[in-house]
Amino acid sequence: MTIDKGAPAKAPLNIHEYLAEFDDIPGTRVYTAARARKGYHINQFAMSLMKAENRARFKADERAYLDEWKISEEAKQALLARDYNALLDMGGNVYFLSKLFSSDGLPFAEAVSTMTDMTWPEYRQMMLDGGRSPEGNRSIKENLAAAAARAQETGKDN
């Protein structure tokens, strides 16, 4: 927790350093330019569902509607399967994709739970119990270092 360190970080960060840090966050895809470019048409497709007439056409024949878009076959399969983690990997963003699960009538939390390794009731209970802890969820590197330290500790103990 660095929130109360005083020194203002006024020097402009280099964009490469800025972006590199994002890859260190466990279980998270930050919606960078690279992802925005990759998922462009997936996200534009999702936004098209903000119009009732498009939702109706999509629901009538999902595959036919998807075929109108410049989307890879892989992405179409993920969209048909509502595989949101796969869609995140392909550059989808949840604010865009929410138009798809809202069209499905799925509440936000239930849709989000499908991206975790929990069932919806388990996820719901975790949230009621205070949510997922940031402990152990801040940094991949830190987690690896901690794991290595523990392994060494265990090695010593043996």
């Binding site: 203002p8 604010y95 798809l100 989000v112 205070g130």
Partner: protein, 286 residues
């Protein structure tokens, strides 16, 4: 002269809109959340703000990937609730205040903020949910609204420092508007939440509350929090809190706490709510 009389911070979770629209705001799940807004509802009735500068983010509703403005200010006459996939919310249209909005937009550009001026757009839950939380279900919203949409979706989003500085410039702009108007500024979004991937559901009560602490008094520490810290500590969508810094920056050097509320959870999100007023130093006129 117009003046900013108060700042309000609030989460804008879509489910809160559903709760209001479906009359569930007193049930076991929502009751404790809405209870924390009761004070503010009474206070708003007394305050009767003429205009609210409502800082929010568009959640891929008005702006698709064709055009992504960093700071967009609504100068239009009125705005309709967006259809976010389940039909538009049945809430009143949002009436703008073009006179003040254009004045602020012009002043900000002169002040070297690279604003995007918007005259027509629909507004999503980011804007309408805070209105419901603060005003309930009136026939018409009791104040004019100037939407200020901030990109917090596509990275990089604006830095905390830039947001705070925008707030400072908004204060100057409002104070140079000749008409006598009671203006509030609201910062919305957050608090901790992550809506994606295996880490979804992350909440951070301790960090969120330190953030709320930092909005009170004369510290400006919050403007220097780097984006990576929001991401690590508060989840990927916790970055929405940078919008609260625009509100805080617009309150001047020092603030006084009027009301504060925090509740976990609402859907995937930690609900935070704060009401602040500016503490003006006695200044010798220049």
């Amino acid at each position: 002269m117009a003046r900013i009389t108060a700042g309000v911070g609030s989460s804008h979770v879509p489910l809160l809109g559903v709760a209001v629209d479906q009359g569930k705001s007193n049930d076991d799940y929502f009751g404790p959340i809405f209870a924390g807004y009761e004070w503010t509802r009474q206070w708003e009735k007394e305050q009767k703000p003429d205009v609210i500068i409502l800082v929010y983010n568009d959640h891929a509703s008005a702006f698709d990937m064709k055009i992504v403005p960093t700071f967009a200010i609504g100068c239009g006459e009125s705005y309709k609730p967006a259809d976010e996939g389940w039909g538009p919310r049945q809430v009143p249209d949002v009436e703008g205040h073009p006179d003040l909005a254009w004045h602020i937009a012009q002043s900000l550009i002169l002040d070297e903020f690279d604003m995007t001026i918007i005259n027509e757009m629909d507004v999503d839950h980011g804007l309408t949910v805070p209105l419901s939380m603060m005003f309930g279900q009136p026939e018409a919203w009791p104040a004019k609204i100037i939407p200020l949409a901030v990109n917090v979706v596509t990275y990089p989003v604006p830095s905390g420092n830039r947001c705070w500085a925008l707030g400072e410039a908004i204060k100057r702009a409002v104070e140079s508007f000749p008409e006598d108007l009671n203006v509030q500024i609201w910062g919305t979004g957050g608090m901790s939440h992550q809506l994606q991937g295996k880490r979804a559901g992350l909440l951070n009560r301790e960090w969120d509350n330190k953030f709320l602490d930092m909005l009170i008094g004369d510290t400006d520490a919050a403007r220097w929090i780097p984006h990576i810290e929001y991401l690590r500590e508060t989840g990927s969508e916790g970055i929405e809190m940078v919008m609260w810094l625009i509100m805080r920056g617009a309150l001047g050097e020092k603030t006084r706490l009027l009301h504060r509320h925090y509740h976990i959870p609402c859907s995937n999100t930690a609900i935070g709510h704060i009401v602040l007023e500016p503490v003006e130093e006695e200044t010798v006129p220049a």
